[in-house]
């Protein structure tokens, strides 16, 4: 029986081994319905294996999972019926036309013939491929193939969509079309499991991010990930050498850490929004001329690299 899931995907201690190799180790996560989940990790981290398990393509070794309320391992056909998947390569039939490709998959997803045709037309128009519907896919550009593969994943209106590198190899304009499309899908309440190496893209699109390397290293919102990793803070640009004002800043009891480089003071604070005014007052009181005050910004890329490198180092020490 299918329940009414609040989480589109839930896994509990999900594990997959290949002989002695642990590809996915004890993965426990919950992805709320209607969110975009970014699954980040280096090549060979086990991301594809995880997606294959969750899309009921391969079995789990241990643990359990539900996808769209269906129990993995027991309701695999229902899971496959409910999800859409964009694999790493578009995997289209080059000798068939765009129309024939999509119609074939629409029928494989059990759409009645009239609805299949209308869905194919809808997505071909939506992704600007309608005029090329009769052309062989073999002659399509990479971007067109990718858009067609995305259309294929959506023909049956799945509630959970797995997208593996949806913008890889696309020109900036096509990548923007795909990203906007993903936002539109989220606005429609669909859940998207996004595997990507494009970290700015993950930052832009994802509500929740999991950093993964055989096991889940961190699971949080992009904002919390950044704050949790490097702490919140403020950068103050002053006139002249900033080291002169370090003592005044460090004298404030709530300042966790302060460093100076050229004309910039970098100050770690627990609650920057509340504490910034007092920092500014202290600096002005000490005689500093302030040019600007900005929150410290760390990219998701910095967070990701820090996490993966820390994990790599701890693994090396463990060995």
């Amino acid at each position: 029986m299918r329940g009414a899931p609040t989480n589109a995907i839930e896994t509990s201690h999900l594990t997959r081994t290949f002989g002695g190799l642990i590809a996915v180790d004890d993965l426990t996560l919950a992805i709320p319905q209607g969110s975009v989940f970014g699954f980040l990790g280096p090549n060979g981290a086990g991301k594809t294996t995880t997606v294959r398990m969750l899309s009921a393509l391969i079995a789990t070794s241990r643990g359990s999972a539900t996808v769209a309320g269906y129990v993995l391992g027991k309701q695999n056909e229902a899971i496959r019926q409910t999800i859409g998947i964009l694999t790493e390569t578009p995997g289209l039939y080059d000798r068939l036309s765009a129309w024939q490709n999509l119609l074939f998959f629409a029928e494989m997803y059990d759409l009645p013939s009239k609805r299949a045709a209308s869905q194919v037309e809808h997505y071909l128009r939506l992704l600007d491929l309608w005029d090329r519907r009769g052309d062989r896919v073999g002659g399509f550009s990479k971007g067109m193939k990718q858009k067609l593969a995305i259309a294929r994943a959506l023909l049956h209106e799945p509630q959970v969509i797995f997208l593996d590198e949806p913008t890889a190899g696309l020109d900036p304009e096509s990548a923007r079309v795909v990203r906007d499309f993903i936002k539109q899908l989220r606005a429609e309440g669909r859940t998207i499991f996004l595997t990507t190496h494009n970290l700015p893209e993950a930052d832009e699109l994802c509500d929740l991010i999991g950093v993964f390397r055989s096991k889940l290293l961190r699971l949080d919102t992009p904002g919390n990930l950044r704050a949790g990793m490097f702490g919140a803070g403020t950068q103050v640009r002053v006139v002249g050498d900033a080291t002169r004002w370090l003592a005044a800043v460090r004298a404030l009891p709530f300042v966790q850490q302060a460093t100076a480089a050229e004309s910039i003071l970098t100050i770690s604070l627990a609650h920057p929004d509340d504490q910034n005014p007092e920092v500014v007052r202290a600096l002005v009181g000490a005689g500093a001329d302030i040019r600007s005050v900005e929150p410290t910004s760390h990219s998701l890329e910095e967070v990701y690299l820090e996490l993966v490198e820390n994990e790599h180092a701890s693994t090396a020490i463990g060995q």
């Binding site: 393509l57 019926q81 998947i85 390569t89 995997g91 039939y93 068939l96 024939q100 997803y109």
Partner: protein, 254 residues
């Protein structure tokens, strides 16, 4: 069954788009029909009879005997044809899908394993049986037109007809199953086709035995052969089905 037909339609569309594959499917039957036509035309009254002594051809005149030897040799090639053609199609159908990386999206659909396997196997088997039977039919017509009256009855025996109509689908199924197994280990269609030739060798050996007079292809022999082929075909199809699992295809196939 709906999805099996959907897969079949897709497979046939793809086959029709591949000239090399179409050539591979149609060339052997065309050759098998054209060559005996030439031989039968050329056999005149002065032709020496073959030194082979084929029991089923006893009692024929020298001229009839010559025609019958050629007819018998070629009639047996139609049995082999049912293995050659499906191997070619299955190689493109399964390995082609694997090398083009179209299998994973297909496996991600709610298609059942048997539906996918049936679609793939039938797309190779049906054209093969059709081509074999049509080609064989043309051969019988050639015999009727270009040979002496006694020859047809000596070449197109009950045994041959039983093996031709009941045995060729089974042999085709065996060839497709073998090709499915090969597909799990091989990544290019040519290598797969070369390997699948080995499946033809035992059948070719039996045919050679008949041609060399070791035994006659009587109705009884043909029925026994068909009865032997049934469990072999079932066993090999079961083996192919075991290999054709999502898990195996995605994690163990090369």
């Amino acid at each position: 069954m709906q999805k099996v037909f959907v897969i079949l339609r897709k497979e046939f569309r793809e086959i029709l788009q591949q000239r090399i594959l179409l050539f591979g499917i149609l060339l052997p039957p065309i050759l098998f029909d054209v060559i005996p036509f030439i031989y039968l035309q050329k056999i005149g009254n002065g032709t020496r009879a073959s030194s082979l002594s084929i029991p089923s051809l006893q009692g024929l005149s020298l001229h009839e005997y010559s025609q019958a030897v050629v007819g018998t040799a070629f009639s047996n090639l139609y049995i082999l044809l049912s293995m050659i053609v499906p191997s070619t199609i299955a190689a493109y159908s399964i390995i082609g899908e694997k090398s083009n990386r179209t299998l994973e999206p297909l496996l991600a659909t709610p298609v059942r394993r048997w539906q996918l396997l049936a679609g793939k196997m039938l797309s190779a088997l049906l054209p093969a049986v059709l081509v074999t039977w049509m080609s064989g039919g043309l051969f019988i017509t050639e015999l009727a037109i270009f040979t002496d009256a006694n020859v047809v009855a000596h070449v197109i025996t009950e045994g041959w007809l039983i093996l031709f109509f009941a045995g060729t689908p089974l042999l085709g199924l065996i060839a497709v199953s073998v090709m499915t197994a090969i597909s799990s280990r091989v990544n290019d269609t040519r290598t797969a086709q070369q390997l699948s030739i080995w499946a033809i060798v035992p059948v070719a050996g039996i045919i050679l035995g008949e041609l060399s007079g070791q035994f006659a292809l009587t109705a009884q022999v043909a029925i026994i052969a068909d009865l032997i082929l049934i469990p072999i075909a079932v066993l090999l199809t079961w083996g192919a089905a075991q290999l054709f699992q999502r898990e195996n295809i995605l994690t163990r196939w090369k």
